[in-house]
Protein backbone atom coordinates (compact mmCIF):
# COMPACT_ATOMS: atom_id res chain seq x y z
CA UNK A 1 0.00 0.00 0.00
CA UNK A 2 1.64 3.25 -1.10
CA UNK A 3 -0.69 5.36 1.08
CA UNK A 4 -1.63 4.88 4.73
CA UNK A 5 -4.57 6.97 5.93
CA UNK A 6 -5.01 8.13 9.50
CA UNK A 7 -8.27 9.83 10.52
CA UNK A 8 -8.55 11.97 13.63
CA UNK A 9 -11.87 13.83 13.61
CA UNK A 10 -11.70 16.46 10.89
CA UNK A 11 -7.99 15.93 10.39
CA UNK A 12 -6.90 13.35 7.84
CA UNK A 13 -3.25 12.42 7.45
CA UNK A 14 -2.04 10.53 4.39
CA UNK A 15 1.36 8.88 4.84
CA UNK A 16 2.81 8.39 1.35
CA UNK A 17 5.34 5.68 0.68
CA UNK A 18 7.87 4.88 -2.04
CA UNK A 19 8.64 7.05 -5.07
CA UNK A 20 6.29 9.48 -6.79
CA UNK A 21 6.44 9.52 -10.57
CA UNK A 22 3.88 9.37 -13.36
CA UNK A 23 3.68 5.58 -12.91
CA UNK A 24 3.02 5.55 -9.15
CA UNK A 25 1.05 8.80 -8.79
CA UNK A 26 -2.22 7.32 -10.06
CA UNK A 27 -2.68 4.81 -7.24
CA UNK A 28 -1.77 7.41 -4.62
CA UNK A 29 -4.22 9.89 -6.12
CA UNK A 30 -7.09 7.40 -5.94
CA UNK A 31 -6.30 6.43 -2.35
CA UNK A 32 -6.10 10.04 -1.16
CA UNK A 33 -9.21 11.14 -3.04
CA UNK A 34 -11.32 8.33 -1.63
CA UNK A 35 -10.13 9.26 1.88
CA UNK A 36 -11.15 12.89 1.26
CA UNK A 37 -14.52 11.80 -0.04
CA UNK A 38 -15.19 9.45 2.87
CA UNK A 39 -14.06 11.75 5.69
CA UNK A 40 -14.60 15.30 4.41
CA UNK A 41 -11.68 16.64 6.44
CA UNK A 42 -11.19 20.32 7.26
CA UNK A 43 -7.47 19.68 6.96
CA UNK A 44 -5.44 17.13 5.02
CA UNK A 45 -1.83 16.47 5.91
CA UNK A 46 0.32 14.86 3.23
CA UNK A 47 3.27 13.27 5.00
CA UNK A 48 6.31 12.69 2.76
CA UNK A 49 8.61 11.04 5.35
CA UNK A 50 8.69 7.73 3.45
CA UNK A 51 8.94 9.20 -0.05
CA UNK A 52 12.47 8.66 -1.35
CA UNK A 53 12.03 10.43 -4.69
CA UNK A 54 9.55 12.72 -6.41
CA UNK A 55 9.45 14.31 -9.86
CA UNK A 56 6.93 16.84 -11.20
CA UNK A 57 4.21 14.16 -11.14
CA UNK A 58 4.21 14.81 -7.38
CA UNK A 59 3.42 18.46 -8.09
CA UNK A 60 0.41 17.37 -10.14
CA UNK A 61 -0.62 15.09 -7.31
CA UNK A 62 -0.44 17.86 -4.70
CA UNK A 63 -2.13 20.49 -6.90
CA UNK A 64 -4.97 18.12 -7.77
CA UNK A 65 -5.64 17.32 -4.10
CA UNK A 66 -5.44 21.04 -3.25
CA UNK A 67 -8.19 21.77 -5.78
CA UNK A 68 -10.31 18.95 -4.37
CA UNK A 69 -9.96 20.22 -0.81
CA UNK A 70 -10.71 23.77 -1.83
CA UNK A 71 -14.20 22.75 -2.94
CA UNK A 72 -14.98 22.10 0.76
CA UNK A 73 -12.86 25.01 2.00
CA UNK A 74 -10.46 22.54 3.54
CA UNK A 75 -6.76 23.19 4.07
CA UNK A 76 -3.68 21.32 2.90
CA UNK A 77 -0.50 20.87 4.89
CA UNK A 78 2.67 19.15 3.60
CA UNK A 79 5.14 17.66 6.06
CA UNK A 80 8.50 15.89 6.20
CA UNK A 81 9.79 16.82 2.76
CA UNK A 82 13.39 15.78 2.01
CA UNK A 83 15.72 18.33 0.35
CA UNK A 84 15.08 16.73 -3.08
CA UNK A 85 11.30 16.88 -2.68
CA UNK A 86 11.39 20.40 -1.25
CA UNK A 87 13.44 21.60 -4.21
CA UNK A 88 10.85 20.29 -6.70
CA UNK A 89 7.96 21.78 -4.69
CA UNK A 90 9.74 25.12 -4.39
CA UNK A 91 10.29 25.26 -8.16
CA UNK A 92 6.54 24.86 -8.63
CA UNK A 93 5.74 27.50 -6.01
CA UNK A 94 3.68 25.04 -3.97
CA UNK A 95 4.36 27.03 -0.81
CA UNK A 96 1.75 29.48 -2.09
CA UNK A 97 -0.91 26.74 -1.84
CA UNK A 98 0.08 24.94 1.31
CA UNK A 99 2.31 25.16 4.35
CA UNK A 100 5.38 22.99 3.69
CA UNK A 101 7.51 21.60 6.50
CA UNK A 102 10.92 20.13 5.76
CA UNK A 103 11.96 16.82 7.25
CA UNK A 104 13.04 17.11 10.88
CA UNK A 105 11.39 20.51 11.36
CA UNK A 106 9.00 19.11 13.97
Amino acid sequence: MPVKIDVNGELVTAYLEGEIDHHSARVMRNDIDSAIERNMPSMLILDFRDISFMDSSGIGLVMGRYKNLKKNNAELHITNTSPQIYKVMKLAGLERLAKIDKVGSK
Partner: protein
Protein backbone atom coordinates in the same frame (compact mmCIF):
# COMPACT_ATOMS: atom_id res chain seq x y z
CA UNK B 1 37.16 14.31 -24.26
CA UNK B 2 34.48 11.66 -23.76
CA UNK B 3 35.71 9.47 -20.93
CA UNK B 4 32.77 7.12 -20.51
CA UNK B 5 29.47 6.25 -22.20
CA UNK B 6 26.23 4.51 -21.27
CA UNK B 7 23.61 3.54 -23.86
CA UNK B 8 20.22 2.33 -22.86
CA UNK B 9 17.17 1.36 -24.92
CA UNK B 10 13.87 0.75 -23.14
CA UNK B 11 10.26 0.43 -24.30
CA UNK B 12 7.96 3.26 -23.25
CA UNK B 13 6.33 1.45 -20.34
CA UNK B 14 5.64 3.67 -17.34
CA UNK B 15 7.17 1.03 -15.06
CA UNK B 16 10.52 1.81 -16.76
CA UNK B 17 10.53 5.42 -15.47
CA UNK B 18 12.03 4.34 -12.19
CA UNK B 19 14.54 1.99 -13.83
CA UNK B 20 15.77 4.67 -16.26
CA UNK B 21 16.52 7.31 -13.62
CA UNK B 22 18.14 4.79 -11.27
CA UNK B 23 20.29 3.33 -14.08
CA UNK B 24 21.55 6.79 -15.10
CA UNK B 25 22.14 7.73 -11.45
CA UNK B 26 24.18 4.56 -10.80
CA UNK B 27 26.29 5.23 -13.88
CA UNK B 28 26.95 8.82 -12.81
CA UNK B 29 27.67 7.74 -9.21
CA UNK B 30 31.20 6.64 -10.16
CA UNK B 31 32.09 10.33 -10.62
CA UNK B 32 31.41 10.86 -6.91
CA UNK B 33 28.77 13.59 -7.31
CA UNK B 34 27.12 15.25 -4.33
CA UNK B 35 23.76 13.90 -3.22
CA UNK B 36 22.10 17.04 -4.55
CA UNK B 37 23.76 16.63 -7.97
CA UNK B 38 22.70 13.01 -8.25
CA UNK B 39 19.14 13.91 -7.22
CA UNK B 40 19.02 16.74 -9.77
CA UNK B 41 20.09 14.34 -12.54
CA UNK B 42 17.64 11.68 -11.41
CA UNK B 43 14.77 14.15 -11.41
CA UNK B 44 15.66 15.57 -14.83
CA UNK B 45 15.93 12.09 -16.39
CA UNK B 46 12.60 11.13 -14.86
CA UNK B 47 10.96 14.16 -16.49
CA UNK B 48 12.49 13.49 -19.92
CA UNK B 49 11.54 9.81 -19.92
CA UNK B 50 8.02 10.57 -18.65
CA UNK B 51 7.57 13.03 -21.54
CA UNK B 52 8.39 10.22 -24.01
CA UNK B 53 5.81 7.95 -22.39
CA UNK B 54 3.03 10.48 -21.79
CA UNK B 55 3.45 12.60 -24.94
CA UNK B 56 5.69 11.11 -27.64
CA UNK B 57 4.16 7.62 -27.53
CA UNK B 58 0.78 8.71 -26.13
CA UNK B 59 -1.43 5.98 -27.57
CA UNK B 60 1.35 3.66 -28.69
CA UNK B 61 4.48 1.93 -27.52
CA UNK B 62 7.97 2.71 -28.79
CA UNK B 63 11.61 2.77 -27.82
CA UNK B 64 13.29 5.40 -25.68
CA UNK B 65 17.01 5.82 -26.38
CA UNK B 66 19.10 7.19 -23.52
CA UNK B 67 22.76 8.07 -23.97
CA UNK B 68 24.90 9.37 -21.13
CA UNK B 69 28.34 10.73 -21.93
CA UNK B 70 30.91 11.67 -19.35
CA UNK B 71 33.16 14.46 -20.58
CA UNK B 72 36.56 14.96 -18.93
CA UNK B 73 35.33 12.99 -15.91
CA UNK B 74 33.41 16.07 -14.82
CA UNK B 75 30.50 16.89 -17.12
CA UNK B 76 27.51 14.65 -17.66
CA UNK B 77 25.69 14.95 -20.99
CA UNK B 78 22.40 13.10 -21.26
CA UNK B 79 20.42 12.55 -24.43
CA UNK B 80 16.88 11.20 -24.33
CA UNK B 81 15.48 10.42 -27.77
CA UNK B 82 12.21 8.98 -29.06
CA UNK B 83 10.64 8.23 -32.43
CA UNK B 84 7.26 9.50 -31.33
CA UNK B 85 4.84 12.14 -32.52
CA UNK B 86 7.15 15.13 -32.10
CA UNK B 87 6.43 18.47 -30.47
CA UNK B 88 4.37 20.93 -32.47
CA UNK B 89 5.45 24.07 -30.72
CA UNK B 90 8.58 23.63 -28.61
CA UNK B 91 8.48 27.13 -27.19
CA UNK B 92 4.96 26.60 -25.91
CA UNK B 93 5.75 23.10 -24.61
CA UNK B 94 8.62 24.52 -22.58
CA UNK B 95 6.48 27.20 -20.91
CA UNK B 96 6.08 26.39 -17.21
CA UNK B 97 2.55 25.14 -16.42
CA UNK B 98 1.70 24.51 -20.08
CA UNK B 99 0.51 20.93 -20.54
CA UNK B 100 -1.52 18.82 -22.90
CA UNK B 101 -1.36 15.97 -20.38
CA UNK B 102 -4.63 16.74 -18.60
CA UNK B 103 -5.64 17.75 -15.07
CA UNK B 104 -3.08 15.75 -13.13
CA UNK B 105 0.01 16.89 -15.03
CA UNK B 106 1.64 20.03 -13.67
CA UNK B 107 3.29 21.10 -16.93
CA UNK B 108 6.64 21.50 -15.21
CA UNK B 109 8.74 18.79 -16.85
CA UNK B 110 10.91 21.09 -18.96
CA UNK B 111 11.07 23.67 -16.15
CA UNK B 112 12.54 21.00 -13.87
CA UNK B 113 15.06 19.90 -16.52
CA UNK B 114 16.04 23.49 -17.20
CA UNK B 115 16.48 24.47 -13.58
CA UNK B 116 18.13 21.25 -12.31
CA UNK B 117 20.62 20.94 -15.18
CA UNK B 118 23.06 23.54 -16.58
CA UNK B 119 22.03 23.26 -20.23
CA UNK B 120 18.94 22.01 -22.00
CA UNK B 121 18.16 21.78 -25.69
CA UNK B 122 15.11 20.30 -27.37
CA UNK B 123 14.92 19.32 -31.02
CA UNK B 124 11.81 17.86 -32.56
CA UNK B 125 10.37 16.86 -35.92
CA UNK B 126 6.67 16.39 -36.45
CA UNK B 127 5.90 12.68 -36.70
CA UNK B 128 9.59 11.75 -36.42
CA UNK B 129 10.44 12.25 -32.79
CA UNK B 130 12.20 14.40 -30.24
CA UNK B 131 15.70 14.65 -28.80
CA UNK B 132 16.25 16.26 -25.42
CA UNK B 133 19.88 16.99 -24.58
CA UNK B 134 20.88 18.17 -21.16
CA UNK B 135 24.17 18.75 -19.49
CA UNK B 136 25.44 19.24 -15.98
CA UNK B 137 28.93 19.98 -14.75
CA UNK B 138 29.66 18.41 -11.40
CA UNK B 139 31.43 20.31 -8.68
CA UNK B 140 35.12 19.52 -8.30
CA UNK B 141 35.71 17.38 -5.24
CA UNK B 142 38.91 17.60 -3.29
CA UNK B 143 40.10 14.05 -2.81
Amino acid sequence: MITNVLKLVIPSKSSNESFARVAVASFVAQLDPTLEEINDIKTAVSEAVTNCIVHAYKESMGNIYITVQVIDNLTVKIKVRDNGCGIDNIKQAMQPLFTTGGEERAGLGFAVMESFMDKLSVKSKDGKGTVVTMQKKLSIRIS
